[in-house]
C-alpha cells in the first residue's frame, strides 16, 4: 500500500484537505442557509484523510511558512497508521451518528463540534511541527467539550466542566513543555529536528502529564469515565477510539529517539502503564453502566500502550520498532473499542427489548475477544508486536513484564465479559427503529477489526507464526480463564452485585478532587482580598480631613482677620526681616 508514485501536488492537496475539509463543512453548518447541504456532507468529511492515509507516507513535509508562525504538514510512517484508523473510525462514527441523532433537534450543533474535533484530530496527526501539533491538539480538546455536554444533562455539565479543567491544565503543561523543547532544540520547530533531552526531568514530567491527561494516565484519568457515559455513542466511540490516542501520538512525537538510554523514565512509563492497566480493570468491575466499563477498559488498554512506550524508552535502539508496535496496538484498540461502543449504541438504541438477535451478540463478542488478545484476531497480532518489543527490555523488567502481560489479558477479558453482561438485562419494550445506517457502519467497523490488521503489510508476524501451537496456547489460556472467572462471578454475585449503584462512583479520583475543592472554599486564597479596589484614594482622604478640621480652619481665618493680629504680624514681619538681613549680628 506504500504508493508514493502519487504526484506530490495531489498529496499536498489531500494532506491539507484532511483537516481543512471538515473545517469547511463545519463553517457551512454554521451558516443557516447552507446548513442542510453541509449536514448531508458532514458524515463523509473524513474521506480525504482516509484517502491520504491510503496513499502512504509522503516523502516531503510541506512547509507552510505563513500559516501560524510557520508550520509543516506531512505524513510519516506512524502518522499514516494513526491517520488510517482515526479517519476510518471518524467515518464510521459519522455515518452512525447521522442516524443515531436523526431525531435530535440539536444535531447541527453536535455535528459542528464533531467536525471541529475531527479536523483537530487529523491536523495533529498530520502536523510535523511543534506549534502546528499544539494548535490542532487544542482545537480537538476544546471542541470535544461540545460533544461531551451535547445532551445538556446535569451529569453531562459536570463531566464537561471536569474535562475542561483538566484540558486547560493539560494545555498549559504542554505549552511549557513546548517552550522548553523549542529552546533546547535552538528554536527548531520540526519534529524531525527537535531534541528532547531525557535528562531534563521537568520536561519529561510535563510531557508525561500533559499528554497523560489526554491518554488517561493514572492520576489524571478522572474525566474519561465521566465523559463517556454522558456523551452520545458516536462521540464516545470517537473519544475513546481516536482522541485519547492523540496523547500517545504526542509522546511519540515529542520523544524522538535519543542515544542516551534513561532507565528512570522507561521504568516510570512501565510502572504507570501497568498501574493504569490493573487500576482500570479493578474499578471497571465495580461499575454498573456498560459505557463506563468500556471507558475503564480504555484506561487499562492505554496503560498497556504506555508500557510499550516505556519499553521503547528503556531500549532506545528499539524505539522505531516500539513506535510501530504502539501504533498497531493503538489501531487495534481504536477499531475494537470503537466497534464495541457502536455495538452498545446499537444494542441500546435499536433493541431495547430483552431479546437480542444472535448476530448482535457475535458483533459484540468479536471485538471484545480481539481486545483480550484471542489468537487469529487483530489483538493477537498487536500483542505479538508488543511481546517482541518487551523481549528486548533489560533483564530485571523483562521477567516481570512477561508475567504481567497474560494477567492483563485475563483482566481485560474479565472486564469485557462484565461489560457485555451489563448490556443483556436492559429493560424496556422492543422498539425496532429504522437507521440501517447504524447497522451498516457498525458492520463495516467489525469487518475492519477482523481483517485490517492482517492485510497491513507492516505487521511483522509471519503467517506461520500465527498458527504455531505455542502462540495459540499463549493467546488462548488467558481469554479462556478470564471467561471462566467471569461466569463464576456472574453466578456467585447473582443479580445483586450488578444492579445497585456502582461501589465506587465513576471518575473516582474526581470525587476526591471535588472534596478537596470544597475544603478549600472557606479560606479560598482571594478571600482576604476583600472588596477589590477599595484602596485608599487620595480624594476621599483629603475630604475626610477637611470635614473634620472645618471648624478649626474657619476659626483660624477669623483670627487672622482681627486687627490686633494683623498689627502683631506686621511688626513681627519687620523685625524678622531685619533680623534675617543682618544675620543676627546687630551693628549697634
Amino acid at each position: 500500500m506504500t504508493g508514493n508514485h502519487v504526484l506530490p501536488e495531489l498529496q499536498i492537496l489531500l494532506l491539507s484537505l484532511g483537516p481543512g475539509f471538515p473545517l469547511v463543512i463545519a463553517l457551512g453548518l454554521m451558516v443557516p442557509s447552507c446548513r442542510r447541504l453541509a449536514f448531508l456532507m458532514a458524515s463523509w468529511a473524513p474521506l480525504p484523510a482516509l484517502l491520504a492515509s491510503l496513499y502512504g507516507p509522503s516523502a516531503i513535509a510541506v512547509e507552510v511558512p505563513w500559516f501560524f508562525m510557520g508550520s509543516l504538514i506531512g505524513l510519516d510512517r506512524t502518522g499514516q497508521i494513526f491517520l488510517f484508523f482515526t479517519s476510518l473510525l471518524w467515518l464510521v462514527a459519522g455515518i452512525f451518528g447521522r442516524d443515531y441523532l436523526a431525531a435530535d433537534e440539536k444535531k447541527y450543533r453536535f455535528f459542528g463540534y464533531f467536525l471541529f474535533t475531527m479536523s483537530g484530530n487529523f491536523g495533529l496527526i498530520l502536523s510535523q511541527g511543534v506549534l502546528g501539533f499544539y494548535l490542532f491538539f487544542s482545537l480537538m480538546s476544546f471542541a470535544a467539550y461540545g460533544l461531551i455536554i451535547h445532551h445538556g444533562t446535569r451529569e453531562a455539565m459536570r463531566a464537561g466542566r471536569i474535562y475542561l479543567v483538566l484540558t486547560v491544565i493539560g494545555e498549559v503543561l504542554l505549552f511549557i513543555a513546548m517552550l522548553i523543547v523549542t529552546r533546547d532544540s535552538g528554536g527548531e520547530m520540526a519534529f524531525s529536528a527537535i531534541k528532547t533531552s531525557r535528562a531534563d526531568t521537568l520536561l519529561m514530567l510535563l510531557l508525561f502529564l500533559g499528554f497523560g491527561i489526554k491518554a488517561g494516565a493514572l492520576p489524571l484519568h478522572g474525566w474519561l469515565p465521566l465523559a463517556h457515559p454522558v456523551a452520545p455513542v458516536p462521540a464516545s466511540a470517537v473519544l475513546s477510539g481516536a482522541m485519547i490516542k492523540a496523547g500517545l501520538l504526542g509522546w511519540l512525537r515529542f520523544m524522538p529517539p535519543d542515544q542516551a538510554a534513561t532507565p528512570f523514565w522507561g521504568v516510570f512509563f512501565l510502572v504507570a502503564g501497568f498501574a493504569a492497566a490493573f487500576y482500570g480493570v479493578v474499578i471497571g468491575l465495580t461499575q454498573v453502566d456498560a459505557k463506563t466499563v468500556l471507558a475503564y477498559s480504555s484506561i487499562s488498554q492505554m496503560g498497556l500502550m504506555t508500557v510499550i512506550v516505556g519499553s521503547g524508552l528503556l531500549v532506545p535502539e528499539q524505539w522505531p520498532q516500539a513506535t510501530t508496535a504502539v501504533s498497531l496496538y493503538a489501531m487495534h484498540h481504536g477499531l475494537a473499542k470503537g466497534s464495541l461502543f457502536l455495538g452498545v449504541g446499537v444494542a441500546k438504541k435499536k433493541w431495547t427489548g430483552a431479546k437480542k438477535p444472535w448476530w448482535l451478540w457475535v458483533g459484540l463478542w468479536l471485538p471484545a475477544l480481539a481486545l483480550a488478545g484471542l489468537p487469529l484476531t487483530s489483538g493477537a497480532i498487536a500483542k505479538y508486536g508488543m511481546k517482541e518489543i518487551i523481549a528486548q527490555v533489560p533483564e530485571p523488567w523483562h521477567g516481570l513484564t512477561s508475567l504481567l502481560l497474560p494477567l492483563c489479558a485475563l483482566a481485560t477479558m474479565l472486564l469485557l465479559c462484565h461489560g457485555i453482561s451489563l448490556i443483556r438485562p436492559a429493560t424496556g419494550r422492543t422498539t425496532i427503529e429504522q437507521g440501517q445506517g447504524m447497522l451498516v457502519s457498525w458492520a463495516v467497523n467489525l469487518a475492519a477489526v477482523a481483517a485490517v490488521l492482517w492485510l497491513w503489510s507492516g505487521s511483522s508476524m509471519p503467517a506461520g507464526q500465527t498458527f504455531a501451537p505455542a502462540s495459540l496456547w499463549n493467546g488462548l489460556w488467558p481469554a479462556g480463564l478470564g471467561a471462566l472467572v467471569a461466569i463464576a462471578l456472574g453466578r456467585l454475585g447473582g443479580r445483586g452485585v450488578y444492579q445497585q449503584k456502582a461501589l465506587i462512583p465513576a471518575g473516582d479520583v474526581m470525587v476526591v478532587a471535588q472534596w478537596l475543592g470544597e475544603l478549600m472554599k472557606p479560606w479560598a486564597c482571594f478571600q482576604f482580598f476583600g472588596k477589590s479596589g477599595k484602596g485608599f484614594s487620595l480624594a476621599a482622604g483629603t475630604d475626610e480631613w477637611l470635614r473634620r478640621r472645618e471648624a478649626q480652619l474657619k476659626k483660624g481665618e477669623k483670627i487672622l482677620q482681627r486687627w490686633a493680629v494683623v498689627g502683631t504680624i506686621f511688626l513681627a514681619m519687620i523685625i524678622s526681616l531685619v533680623y534675617l538681613f543682618t544675620a543676627g549680628n546687630f551693628p549697634w
Binding site: 480624594a539 483629603t542 477637611l546 472645618e550 480652619l553 474657619k554 481665618e557 487672622l560 482677620q561 494683623v566 504680624i569 506686621f570 514681619m573 519687620i574 523685625i575 524678622s576 526681616l577 531685619v578 534675617l580 538681613f581 543682618t582 544675620a583 546687630f586 551693628p587 549697634w588
Partner: protein
C-alpha cells in the same frame, strides 16, 4: 519722532485723559472706555515693536534729570507686564461693557446701576493709567505715587457694588493699603537718607549693607507684602475680591495684586539681590508655601464660587513667592522667565475665571457652588471658559502655568533645594482639588436648572473664553514673550542708554 519713549508716555497719558472725559460725559462712558482700551492696546503694541527694535531705554519726562525729574525705565519686564495689562484690561473692558448694559437693561434700576457704570469707567481707566505708570517708572518715589493711585481706585471700585459686605471690605482694604503705603513711604524716606537717590538702576549700583538700609528694605518689603496679601496678611483680599462687581474682581485679582508683586520682584530679584542673605528669601519662600496650602484649604471649604476664586488667588500668589528663593538660587534666567510666565498666565486665567463666575452669577442669581449643578446646559461657553481657566491654574500642559512650574521645578532640583519644587507640585494638585469641586458641579447634567430669564450677551462669554484660551496657549507661545525678556534684561548692570528728548 515716535519711538519707545513716546509710546511709553502715551500709555500713561491716554488712560488718564480718557478717564477725565468719561467722568465728564458719563452717559457715553462705556464707548469712551472701550476706545481708551483699544488705544491703550495699540500703544502697548507699538511700544513693544519699538522696544524690540531699539532695546531698553531710560526716558526723563520733560527733560528733568534724575533727582527731581520722573524717569521712565523701559525694559523687557516692564514691557511684558504692560502688554499683559493691556490684553487683560481690553478683555475686561469688553466684558464690563456687556456686564453693565445687561445689568441696566434688565433691572431697569437706571439709578443704581447707571451710577455704578458712570463711576466704573473713569476710576477703572485711572487705575489702568496708574498701572502702566508703575510698570514703567524708574524710581521708587514715583512708584509710591502710582501705587497709591492704584490702591485708592481699587478701593473705590470695590465699594462700587454698594452691598454692605462690599463696603466693609472696601473700608478694610483702604486701611490696609494705608498702612502698607505708610510703611513703604517710611522705607523710601530712610533709603533716601542713606543714599540720597531713589532711582532704581542707580541704587542697584550704590547699595552696600548698612543698618539703615536693612531697616528701610524691611519696611518696604512689609508694606508690599501687605499690599500683595501674602499668607498671614491676606485677610483683606478674599472679602474685597469676592464682593466686588465681576469685572472689578477680575481687575483686582488679575492686575492690582500683580503691581505690588512686581515691585517685590524688582526689589528682591534685582536691586537688592546681591546683598540680601539667602535666609531672607527662605522666609518669603516658606510664607509662600504657607499661602499655597492655606489658600487651597480655605478654597476647598468655601461655599460661594467667588470666595473660592479669591482664595485661589491667595494660593496662586503663594506660588509666586515660592519662586523668589528660586530666582536667587538660579544662576541662569529660567527662574525669571518662569515667574513672569506664571504672573502672565495667572493674570489671564484669574480674570477669565472671575468673568465666567460673573456670568454664572448673573444667570443663576446666586453663586452657591452646590446649587450650580447643570449650568452647563444653560451657559455652555462660560462654564467651558471657567474649566479652561481652571486648567491653566492647575498648571496643566500646554498652559503657561505648566511651563512656569516646569522651569521652577528644574531650577529647584538643579539647585538641590527640591522641596520648593515639590511644594509647587503639591500646590497644583490642591489647585486641581478646588477647581474640580466646581468643574464637577458644572459638568453634571441636570435638565431642570432654574435660571434668570435674561440671556448673557455673547461678548461677555467670549471675552472670558478668549482670555482663558490665551492663558492656556501661553505655554506654547512662551518663547516669544520671554524672548523680549532677553532683549532687555531688567536693569542690566551695564549702564542703560541715555536718551534725551
Amino acid at each position: 519722532m515716535p519711538d519707545t519713549a513716546f509710546w511709553a508716555v502715551c500709555l500713561v497719558v491716554v488712560p488718564l485723559f480718557f478717564a477725565l472725559i468719561c467722568f465728564v460725559r458719563s452717559d457715553q462712558a462705556a464707548v469712551l472706555g472701550l476706545l481708551a482700551a483699544g488705544l491703550n492696546a495699540l500703544a502697548a503694541l507699538a511700544m513693544t515693536v519699538f522696544f524690540v527694535r531699539s532695546g531698553p531705554l531710560r526716558y526723563a519726562i520733560g527733560g528733568w534729570q534724575a533727582p527731581l525729574g520722573i524717569n521712565f525705565s523701559i525694559d523687557g519686564l516692564s514691557v511684558l507686564l504692560v502688554a499683559m495689562t493691556a490684553v487683560t484690561g481690553l478683555s475686561v473692558s469688553m466684558y464690563a461693557r456687556g456686564y453693565f448694559s445687561l445689568r441696566i437693561g434688565s433691572a431697569g434700576e437706571i439709578n443704581r446701576h447707571g451710577h455704578q457704570r458712570a463711576f466704573f469707567w473713569p476710576v477703572w481707566l485711572l487705575l489702568w493709567g496708574a498701572l502702566n505708570g508703575l510698570f514703567l517708572s524708574a524710581d521708587l518715589f514715583n512708584v509710591y505715587v502710582t501705587l497709591e493711585i492704584i490702591g485708592l481706585s481699587a478701593v473705590v471700585l470695590t465699594a462700587l457694588s454698594g452691598k454692605p459686605a462690599a463696603r466693609l471690605a472696601a473700608m478694610r482694604y483702604l486701611l490696609v493699603s494705608l498702612l502698607g503705603s505708610c510703611s513703604y513711604l517710611f522705607g523710601v524716606a530712610l533709603l533716601y537718607r542713606s543714599y540720597g537717590i531713589l532711582d532704581m538702576a542707580a541704587l542697584a549700583r550704590l547699595i552696600s549693607p548698612a543698618p539703615l538700609m536693612w531697616a528701610s528694605l524691611a519696611l518696604l518689603t512689609t508694606g508690599l507684602l501687605l499690599k500683595t496679601a501674602l499668607f498671614p496678611l491676606h485677610f483683606w483680599l478674599p472679602p474685597a475680591h469676592a464682593n466686588a462687581l465681576a469685572p472689578v474682581s477680575a481687575i483686582l485679582s488679575g492686575l492690582v495684586v500683580k503691581a505690588s508683586f512686581y515691585l517685590m520682584l524688582r526689589l528682591w530679584g534685582d536691586i537688592f539681590a546681591q546683598v540680601l542673605p539667602f535666609a531672607a528669601y527662605v522666609l518669603l519662600g516658606v510664607l509662600g508655601c504657607g499661602a499655597v496650602l492655606w489658600g487651597a484649604v480655605q478654597a476647598l471649604l468655601q461655599k460661594r464660587l467667588k470666595m473660592l476664586i479669591a482664595y485661589s488667588t491667595v494660593a496662586q500668589l503663594g506660588y509666586l513667592f515660592i519662586a523668589l528663593p528660586l530666582i536667587r538660587l538660579d544662576p541662569g534666567s529660567s527662574a525669571w522667565e518662569a515667574v513672569i510666565l506664571l504672573i502672565m498666565s495667572h493674570a489671564c486665567a484669574k480674570s477669565a475665571m472671575f468673568m465666567a463666575a460673573g456670568s454664572i452669577f448673573l444667570k443663576a442669581g446666586h453663586d452657591r457652588i452646590d446649587d450650580l449643578a447643570g449650568i452647563k446646559e444653560v451657559l455652555p461657553i462660560s462654564s467651558f471658559a471657567f474649566v479652561l481657566a481652571g486648567v491653566s491654574l492647575m498648571g496643566f500642559p500646554p498652559s503657561g502655568g505648566f511651563v512656569g512650574k516646569w522651569l521652577l521645578l528644574g531650577v529647584s532640583l538643579a539647585g538641590g533645594e527640591w522641596w520648593w519644587g515639590v511644594m509647587l507640585v503639591i500646590g497644583s494638585l490642591l489647585a486641581a482639588g478646588y477647581v474640580y469641586r466646581v468643574a464637577s458641579r458644572l459638568l453634571v447634567f441636570k435638565v431642570t436648572f432654574f435660571s434668570r430669564r435674561q440671556s448673557i450677551p455673547p461678548v461677555m462669554e467670549w471675552s472670558a473664553v478668549l482670555l482663558a484660551l490665551l492663558a492656556l496657549l501661553l505655554g506654547l507661545l512662551a518663547g516669544y514673550p520671554l524672548g523680549l525678556l532677553e532683549a532687555g534684561s531688567p536693569f542690566p548692570l551695564h549702564a542703560c542708554r541715555e536718551v534725551m528728548p
